[in-house]
């Protein structure tokens, strides 16, 4: 009887450390639904109890039910039938049914549609937990942003039609965006939306690489206007009826349980979501931000899963007469894996918290009756929105890259055994590979995040972080972080001065410095936490070593290693940025030569 929620000390700690009271109050709009719906909490304590109970239940389901099926799912995959329908792998179908029975398919949907009305932060935790059991299942469990997009932007009639079924787990959805010639650049979408004589909308064309394209409810980005570019696109919702065929199921490197479909729409009846022309610029942007947080959560789950195998192996595998974790190189790798995982989780949860804050402020602006409250919320929202716009791509970038590094290192720790299919590490590495690609590549996340790093948002946020209260034990680290902030500002100013192309060229370095500083402050905050929690120390046979230490002490050790090591890294990265080296632009042709012939 395992539990992927309760067996994770870091999640347990962060659940208590983060200010969930505030998140719960915003999410439940000051608990105004209590009494109106029998599951709506009456206060923050009750809401937090609800979050804890549901995560506990998902933790058990993930460990005992989903995880044992994951290997079979990877080997079996999904099947495309002759009639253009898809049959899920047995384990996926069973796990989806179990998740629906557990009432967790309407995680963030409002109470009135039968959802749990949980915040994004708690959803990120749930996605990590489920992904640790089976990353490919996340592509269905973690696609609840589709229902959320309908909730945010569609007419009431459409909401009433679709949302209760989503909440009950009777239907799943797909974000139908990508086309053969429109991947990262969605402005190039060509699938047509047109109206018949009665004004009904119909869809015609092809979409490719559609995750869960065999789902029942499809959100389709289509060209509804004569004009080119993003403003010619609108968002539509349709049912996957007889006019929608799955033409092809992709044969992929990883996430075999997630069906990736090519869809053909043959004059499919559909309904417009919100207003024409806002499809890409407003609705899909919002949808993608939610999905990016989902991918960050998926990456976390994968990294945690593979790290645990590597950690176990490092302790039990003996070479040269000792467990390999006694060897310096292996020791270092294991600590780095663990540190990266905690850095990713810290960044992701902070992002979840900020996104919840943004959603909560929007609710206040929509519903508050007195002008002053509205005005104050609008003022606060301005910065929070920009911060969310920076932190979301940052988290997606960091967590997905991290899961790739960690899953490769895990194989390295296992050596030859890691390369074999006897251990799940090779599967985790294959599954992790997509995370830096879909929902926007790492390169595009950096482009999105670097605007915030060089545009003042990051500076303001770092000033806020520096102003928080920290324990005496980490004041020297806070001083180092302040120095690092000065360096970052200098680099940002220089890069901006060199022009947009230069800023993008050194975007990765700029964003990496920003993340090192943000996570550094957040780790110092964790080391200063009021949460009283003891964590176990590894037993190395030395009776002098305590069996447990306070989590705050452990986090201080972590913060110290992280911040001091990053101080050197920041120096190196800043030298690269400040070098003014533009050879990438001017010497490309000479260095690369002509395009090679491929046989």
């Amino acid at each position: 009887m395992g539990n992927f929620y309760t067996d994770n000390d870091d999640i347990q700690f962060l659940f208590r450390h983060l200010n969930l009271e505030k998140v719960a109050g915003l999410q439940e709009e000051n608990f105004k639904h209590a009494g109106q719906f029998d599951i709506a909490p009456a206060n923050a304590d009750e809401a937090i109890t609800n979050y804890d109970m549901v995560l506990d239940s998902i933790g058990r389901l993930s460990a005992d039910f989903i995880d044992p099926r994951s290997e079979g799912i990877d080997r079996e995959g999904n099947t495309l039938n002759e009639d253009g329908t898809v049959t899920y792998a047995k384990g996926i179908a069973e796990s989806m049914e179990a998740l629906a029975k557990a009432d967790v398919m309407g995680f963030t949907l409002p109470h009135r549609f039968g959802g749990l009305n949980f915040p994004c932060l708690i959803y990120s935790m749930a996605i990590e937990i489920v992904s640790r059991a089976d990353a490919s299942l996340m592509n269905i469990f973690g696609l609840q942003g589709i229902a959320e997009t309908i909730n945010f932007f569609a007419d009431e009639e459409i909401k009433q039609h679709y949302l209760p079924d989503f909440a009950d787990g009777k239907v799943t959805g797909a974000m139908v965006l990508t086309e053969p010639d429109a991947g990262s650049d969605l402005q190039a979408c060509n699938l047509r939306a047109f109206q018949d004589d009665d004004g009904n909308w119909l869809l015609h064309g092809v979409k490719r690489f559609i995750t869960n394209g065999c789902g029942e409810v499809l959100l389709v980005l289509s060209r509804s206007e004569e004009r080119t570019g993003g403003l010619g696109l609108s968002l539509f919702v349709c049912d996957r009826g007889p006019t929608v065929t799955v033409r092809r199921l992709e044969d992929k490197l990883g996430i075999h349980g997630s069906p990736t479909c090519e869809l053909f729409f043959d004059n499919t009846p559909c309904q417009l979501i919100g207003e024409r022309q806002r499809g890409l610029v407003t609705y899909v942007m919002s949808l993608m931000n939610g999905a990016r947080i989902g991918i960050a959560g998926q990456s976390m789950g994968l990294a945690e899963a593979t790290y645990r195998i590597a950690r176990d192996y490092a302790a039990s595998r003996e070479q040269f007469g000792v467990p390999i974790e006694k060897l310096p190189a292996v020791r270092d790798m294991v600590i780095d894996m663990k540190t990266r995982i905690e850095a990713g989780r810290t960044l992701l949860y902070e992002t979840g918290w900020i996104v919840d804050h943004e959603i909560g402020l929007n609710k206040i602006i929509d519903n508050a009756e007195d002008k002053d409250t509205k005005k104050a919320a609008k003022k606060e929202l301005k910065f929070i929105k920009r911060l969310g716009g920076m932190m979301t791509p940052m988290s997606k970038y960091f967590c997905s890259e991290m899961s790739n590094t960690v899953s490769y290192d895990a194989i390295q720790v296992l050596g030859g055994s890691g390369y074999m299919r006897d251990y799940a590490c090779e599967r985790y590495a294959r599954d992790a590979r997509i995370t830096t690609i879909y929902e926007g590549t790492s390169q595009l996340q950096v482009v999105a995040a670097v605007r915030g790093v060089c545009g003042g948002t990051c500076e303001k946020y770092l000033v806020q972080l520096a102003a928080r209260e920290y324990a005496d034990s980490v004041q020297d680290l806070v001083a180092l972080l302040k120095e690092g902030t000065e360096t970052l500002l200098e680099c940002a100013k220089f890069a901006k001065g060199q022009g947009i192309d230069y800023m993008d060229l050194y975007g990765r370095q700029l964003v990496d410095i920003a993340i090192a500083l943000i996570d550094g402050y957040l780790f110092c905050g964790q080391a200063s936490s009021k949460v009283d929690m003891e964590v176990a120390v590894a037993d190395n046979g030395d009776a002098e070593v305590p069996k447990t230490i306070p989590m705050t002490q452990r986090k201080e050790i972590l913060a110290r290693r992280y911040v001091t090591r990053n101080a050197t890294l920041i120096k190196k990265l800043s030298e690269e940025i400040l070098s003014g080296d533009k050879t990438t632009f001017k010497d490309y042709e000479a260095l690369i030569g002509p395009v090679p012939e491929i046989a």
Binding site: N50, M53, A102, D103
Partner: protein
């Protein structure tokens, strides 16, 4: 048509997590050292009952005998979809062995007039597997033990596939019937999020009274009627309500007498090499029989 099922559940110490502190000096279980859990096979019997309800309709009632702290397992039953929960609690139940327990439970079950009574095969604390069969006798119901699958159910009769360890057997029985269910029968469902959020507030009267002792503002009657209106009052039945005959309850009703409890610590002390010859092996087997290790 629907069937009314009663599932008898038990809160037990988690004996899979036995540590050095698991036993008190007097040989009794140190319940503080072991977390209290839902007896695993009772979850399988609950799952079978919920499955019957899902397929045919009807109701599922969870019942347990124990202290008010045992309501944890009743709530856990409600989280999974049980319609009502009953706590049989009375100081005079203390020290009941399996015979007395089955008598007391039979008094409770009779009040509900069920079509199907379900028990786990056995509880992991005592491992006797006696309560289910004894209960069936006291209820004068046919019993089908080691149930693994529901083959059919049609108004009057039930067909169950039993797993006997060395083979399977299909048994047809007349309703009302009592089943004891194996852990291989199914994979118990997890709690439903919405049921948890709603039913976490479910309490029995004694729990409300206890809270009222610490908080003067709690009006026990008002709280209980509010819980009842929301379907969240855990029914609390004592032996008087059950009309139980005291001579069959508690210590008086329990013929089991514990003679002695011994703490056995298994540790490898020494090893002995035995030559792979017929004689050496025979000598070893003889020695093992002598010291009662085998035989």
């Amino acid at each position: 048509m629907g069937y009314n099922c009663v599932v008898l559940v038990k809160q037990v110490p988690d004996t899979k997590r036995v540590t050095g502190q698991a036993m008190n000096d007097d040989g009794t279980v140190n319940r503080a050292a072991l977390p209290a859990i839902f007896n695993p096979e009772d979850l399988n019997s609950l799952e079978l009952a919920l499955d019957i309800k899902d397929q045919f309709g009807g109701t599922v009632t969870v019942m347990t005998m124990g202290l008010p702290t045992a309501t944890d397992v009743l709530r856990a039953g409600m989280y999974r979809g049980a319609d009502q929960a009953i706590l049989v609690t009375d100081r005079r139940c203390a020290a009941s062995d399996t015979l007395a327990t089955s008598y007391i439970l039979s008094c409770g079950v009779k009040k509900l007039n069920p079509d199907i009574v379900l028990c786990g095969r056995q509880a992991i604390d005592g491992d006797t597997a006696q309560v289910g069969p004894q209960l069936a006798e006291k209820l004068s119901m046919p019993q089908i033990t080691y149930a693994e699958n529901l083959v059919s159910l049609d108004g009057e009769t039930i067909v169950i596939k039993r797993n006997l360890g060395n083979g399977w057997q299909e048994v047809k029985g007349q309703l009302p019937v009592l089943l004891t269910v194996l852990d291989t029968a199914n994979e118990p469902r997890v709690p439903r999020a919405k049921q948890m959020m709603k039913c976490k507030a479910a309490r029995c009267r004694m729990e409300v009274e206890k809270a009222a002792k610490e908080d003067d503002s709690i009006d026990v009657d008002a709280v209980c009627s509010d819980l009842e209106a929301k379907g969240l009052l855990i029914r609390q039945w004592d032996l008087d309500f059950l009309g139980a005959d005291m001579q069959w309850c508690g210590r008086d009703g329990s013929p089991t007498k514990v003679h002695r409890i011994q703490s056995v610590v298994l540790a490898a002390k020494e090893s002995k090499e035995v030559e792979p010859t017929q004689d050496a092996v025979e000598t070893m087997v003889h020695e093992l029989i002598e010291d009662h290790t085998i035989g």
